[in-house]
Amino acid sequence: MLAFVLRRIALTVPTLFALSFLTFVAIRLVPGDPIEVRRGERGISPERLEFFRHELGLDQPVWKQFLDYIWGLMHGDFGVSIISQDSVLREFLTLFPATLELSLFAMLFAVVFGVPFGVLAAVKRGSVFDHGLMGVALFGYSMPVFWWGLLLVLFFSVTLDLTPVSGRIDLLYYFEPVTGFMTVDSLLSGQEGAFSSALSHLVLPAIVLGTIPLAAIARMTRSSMLEVLEEDYVRTARAKGLSPFRVIGLHALRNALIPVVTTIGLQGGTMLAGAVLTETIFAWPGVGKWLIESIFRRDYPALQGGVLLISTLLVLVNMTVDILNAVINPRIRHGR
């Protein structure tokens, strides 16, 4: 098992290197550089321009810049953001808990509803419930995130006035971040109403971000379950006189979950990187929003570092999925 994990980690190095290279080159291919973007329409003197270029190292050949960047990475230095003049790693770590918290709640929502819905649809295959659910799932999967988010805001926040429109917590509350998770920190602060405020801010973004994974998980669970229900061992379980709940919920589901866990992992990875739209709609101070802003400001170090950190996380999530699969499925565990 340990050798398996170590080998997987070693295999990620070339992937991450290639990714760093691509990000590095791509952002430099985009017209305009950090100085030009900051200069605005008023313009600055050519001397000042040269000075800034030199200061940021942009007057060096690109290959030299790249080598410097990699050299820095190898020493754990992700660079300094041009805009905030703060360490990229520190900035990322400050924002990341918000994204992670949102993703976790979104995934919780997707799994808690997706798996049981998928199982029910499979068990009641061909019924109105099955067709209805799969239709809705397809709808949810195809829905543009920004539109779906705005619809929910319009209905729940504006019309019904049930949830806040944006942000992570009411401005009434203030406390120093401990874990960076607003739900946890609000509890730790002991301020009355803080937790429910944090939670109510989370509901809509989590639903919006979780809708596509929910649909994907429900459909995957259904098809996987349909396949497993035909298996001989399900018949064996029924021949033992076990209750339908046990036959389906234990014997069938355990086997059906193997591809579902993979789906959950992949969707989870995409969520971390792709919360951009959701974070923008709900003014959620997370990594996605920060990355988008970095692109607009041509903040090279922030973008390069941010993308690299996110992809490292994605790789780690995928690895966790593999390990989880090994835990569920003894055949993988024993290397067969």
Partner: protein, 335 residues
Amino acid sequence: MPLLEIENLSVDFETRAGGLFRAVDRVSLKVEPREIVSVVGESGSGKSVAMLAVMGLLPKTARVTADRLAFEGENLLGLTPAARRKLVGKDIAMIFQEPMSSLNPCFTVGFQIGEALATHLGMGRAARRARAIELLEQVGIPSPESRLSAFPHQLSGGMSQRVMIAMAIACSPKLLIADEPSTALDVTIQAQILDLLVRLRDEKDMALVLITHDMGVVAETAERVVVQYAGRQVEEATTVDLFRDPHHPYTAALLAALPERATEKRLPAIPGVVPGQWDRLEGCMFAPRCDFATPLCSTTRPSRAAPELGYALCHTPLVAGRPTERTARREELPA
């Protein structure tokens, strides 16, 4: 009182086209306690389906009807699903053709054996473990204690079938239905598994229904035989009588196809295949493949012959390999 009574059991499947397909057609069977009965027939003869109907394991698209389907005098069709589950897996158990895929790959052998014990006998953890070891010993698995934590993929086919048998006999059932238990296994292992089943019948006082397509298996194990063809029961006799003087042409043809009985260089075979869903016949289902078929056979459904003729479902049951005239039946027909 017979252990299992089946009278005129029929199973119909709803087809996609909206019609009904009759997989089992008025099959009757009585199994006495401690008896070994074999149900014989080739693929598609409905032998498995009939037994799955007894177990209540058919899919929802199946319609089961019977004049009587009783276990120890209790009507199985009248039971609620929950009441039936109390019988199934406890008093009636079943093992299947493909042992490798019949065990759940995600759970250990010990867990899967223990499940029946917990469900039906309410045994605690330690008691289940002790009983599981005892069961694995009984089915001839070496070092049973270490096998408890094994997963199915770590077992061979023969071992898997032994585990299946251990699971099936866990609650000391009165009836064990074995659906082609040795078909998927090596020849040497086949004999071991059959020996094991017969030995367990002797030790445990249980009856055994052995579904097979192999007349050799029948000869070695069964006391009584039911021959099925295309969902219908064509003959029923004691094993000795059946092998000595088969009365239905199909039985005779099956026996003639046994390598041990072959007299010519080339092994005799039955031409053609079992009629499927779309080519069901008006008269005798076996008529197109039968050496003794008359024009009457393909138009009129035969009735059952007398018990001494093996209840053969035939217009002209064989006696000593020659068709007899059942004049009484013929006279009933319009000229």
